[in-house]
Each structure stands twice: as structure tokens, then as C-alpha cells.
């Protein structure tokens, strides 16, 4: 028996705009339900997807907005642990969230000090269990994983 069993990978191609981001969310929920992902984990994935796409739309530049964004989703199972893996592939400016400092990001001490930026990354970090990034052939490949045990 293999140590890890991966279910079939599904894919969606969208435009880098906010309304297609909503279409992507509907697709993700449907794909996750089809692979028996628990509702609580779908909520986490949904938040990560919305923030990742918002980042592409806002900071990816003209090349990101002109090209397609490809989403891939699959679920792996190994030794009683399930992992849902969502990959976001875009052609925007290179951006690697994994180079940010490890550990919790600082929270503002007061409303006056609160910045309106950086929240998206904080949310991706909080809602995911693992993040990985690579740049290949001019594309960003951001992989977001959430995991759960069979009991949850």
C-alpha cells in the first residue's frame, strides 16, 4: 500500500478579477464536497482562495490581469490524516509568501495604528496548515494545504 493516496485532481481556469474569484469559490466548494472535505475545512480553504486571488488581482500587475489564473484541487490521505491541496497558478509579479518571517505576524496595538494592508497574508497563514511557493516559467505556483484527521 502506498503511504499516501491522492484522489483525482480537478482544475478550473479563471480571469484575475473579483467576480471570477467568486465563481472560483463556488467551484472550490463543489470540488471539496465531492471529495468529502468537512465543511469547517472548506471554510478555511475558501478564505485562503479569496485572499490568494485578491493578492493576484491587486498586486500581480497587468500581466496577471491579462492572463488566466489556473486553480487545481485535490485531497491526499495518508496514515489517518487528510490533506486538501489547493494550487493557484498566475502570471503576475513574483511573490513568495514563504519568505516572510516565521511565527505570528504582529498585531496592531490600537485602532489608530492599525494598517489596512497585510491582512490578506495574515489570513492565509491563519487559515492554512502549510504554504509553499515556487516560480516556474514566469508563473507563481502557490500551494495552500489544510489538514484534518478522520475524526474531525
Amino acid at each position: 500500500m502506498p503511504a499516501s493516496v491522492k484522489q483525482s485532481r480537478v482544475e478550473l481556469t479563471i480571469h484575475a478579477d473579483t467576480w471570477d474569484a467568486r465563481r472560483a469559490s463556488v467551484w472550490l466548494e463543489s470540488a471539496a464536497l465531492a471529495q468529502s472535505v468537512p465543511a469547517e475545512q472548506i471554510v478555511r480553504l475558501d478564505h485562503c482562495l479569496d485572499e490568494a486571488l485578491a493578492n493576484v488581482i491587486k498586486h500581480g500587475g497587468d500581466t496577471a490581469r491579462a492572463a488566466a489564473v489556473v486553480l487545481q484541487f485535490c485531497v491526499r490521505r495518508g496514515q489517518g490524516v487528510f490533506t486538501a491541496e489547493l494550487m493557484v497558478v498566475d502570471e503576475g509579479a513574483a511573490f513568495d509568501p514563504s519568505v516572510l518571517p516565521e511565527g505570528p505576524m504582529p498585531k496592531p496595538a490600537s485602532l489608530a495604528e492599525a494598517s489596512l494592508g497585510g491582512l490578506g497574508l495574515l489570513m492565509i497563514r491563519n487559515f492554512s496548515d502549510e504554504l509553499s511557493y515556487r516560480r516556474s516559467k514566469g508563473r507563481n505556483h502557490l500551494t495552500i494545504c489544510v489538514s484534518w484527521t478522520a475524526a474531525t
Binding site: 473579483t18 467576480w19 474569484a21 467568486r22 469559490s25 471554510v43 475558501d46 478564505h47 479569496d50 485572499e51 486571488l53 485578491a54 488581482i57 498585531k107 496592531p108 490600537s110 485602532l111 489608530a112 492599525a114 489596512l116 491582512l119 490578506g120 495574515l122 489570513m123 491563519n126 487559515f127
Partner: protein, 114 residues
């Protein structure tokens, strides 16, 4: 995404948000919310119990509204009423430390009047 408001006694405004406050939904209501929440000094209760999803864009709109209200000399609080998805998001980002969050409607309003 829908937004409506009611002005109550003693200068308290209730803003009711409902639906999906994702990136698209947040853009949809941001301008109206900013105007309702921060255009003049008052106490503002933002009701989030019917919000099904809260993105960083939605949180930015809440922070901007709270800041604008603070600059006018007023205050803004959040009413979450058992909405776990929204509460978890606010707690994970530390926003509940910046904008007081209440489970109970009356507690939220009382906090503004004290």
C-alpha cells in the same frame, strides 16, 4: 451582499450587513458603509450575524469605518451574535482587540452609551 441601517435613539446607528463579504462583496458595499459608519459623530453598531464570509477586504472596510468614526469623536462596535465563522476571522486577525465585539445586541449598544 446587502447593507441597510436604522438610526435609534441617543445617536446610535445600527448598520446591518448580510451575505458574503468576500473581495467582490466588500467592494460592493465599501463606499456606502464608509459613508454610513464614519460621516458624522455617533455610536455605531455593525451587525455581522448574517455575514456568511469575511475577507481581509471586508475587515479593511470595518477598520476604515471604525477609524473614521473615532476621528469624528464617536465609537463603533461589532455585534456577531453567535456567528462563529466571522468571530473566528476577527479573532485570528486581532481585530476584536481593536473594535469591541459583542455576542449580544443590548451589550453592544450599552457599550456605546457608557
Amino acid at each position: 451582499m446587502a447593507i441597510r441601517y436604522e438610526d435609534a435613539n441617543e445617536g446610535v446607528r445600527h448598520i446591518f450587513l448580510s451575505g458574503r463579504l468576500d473581495t467582490a462583496g466588500s467592494e460592493q458595499i465599501a463606499s456606502e458603509f464608509a459613508s454610513l459608519a464614519g460621516s458624522e459623530k455617533r455610536g455605531v453598531v455593525v451587525h455581522l450575524s448574517d455575514v456568511t464570509f469575511l475577507s481581509s477586504m471586508g475587515i479593511r472596510a470595518l477598520i476604515a469605518g471604525a477609524k473614521a468614526q473615532q476621528a469624528q469623536g464617536g465609537r463603533m462596535v461589532l455585534h456577531v451574535a453567535g456567528n462563529d465563522v466571522v468571530s473566528r476571522t476577527l479573532e485570528a486577525t486581532g481585530i476584536d482587540d481593536l473594535i469591541p465585539m459583542f455576542e449580544d445586541d443590548d451589550d453592544a449598544e450599552r457599550a456605546l452609551l457608557n
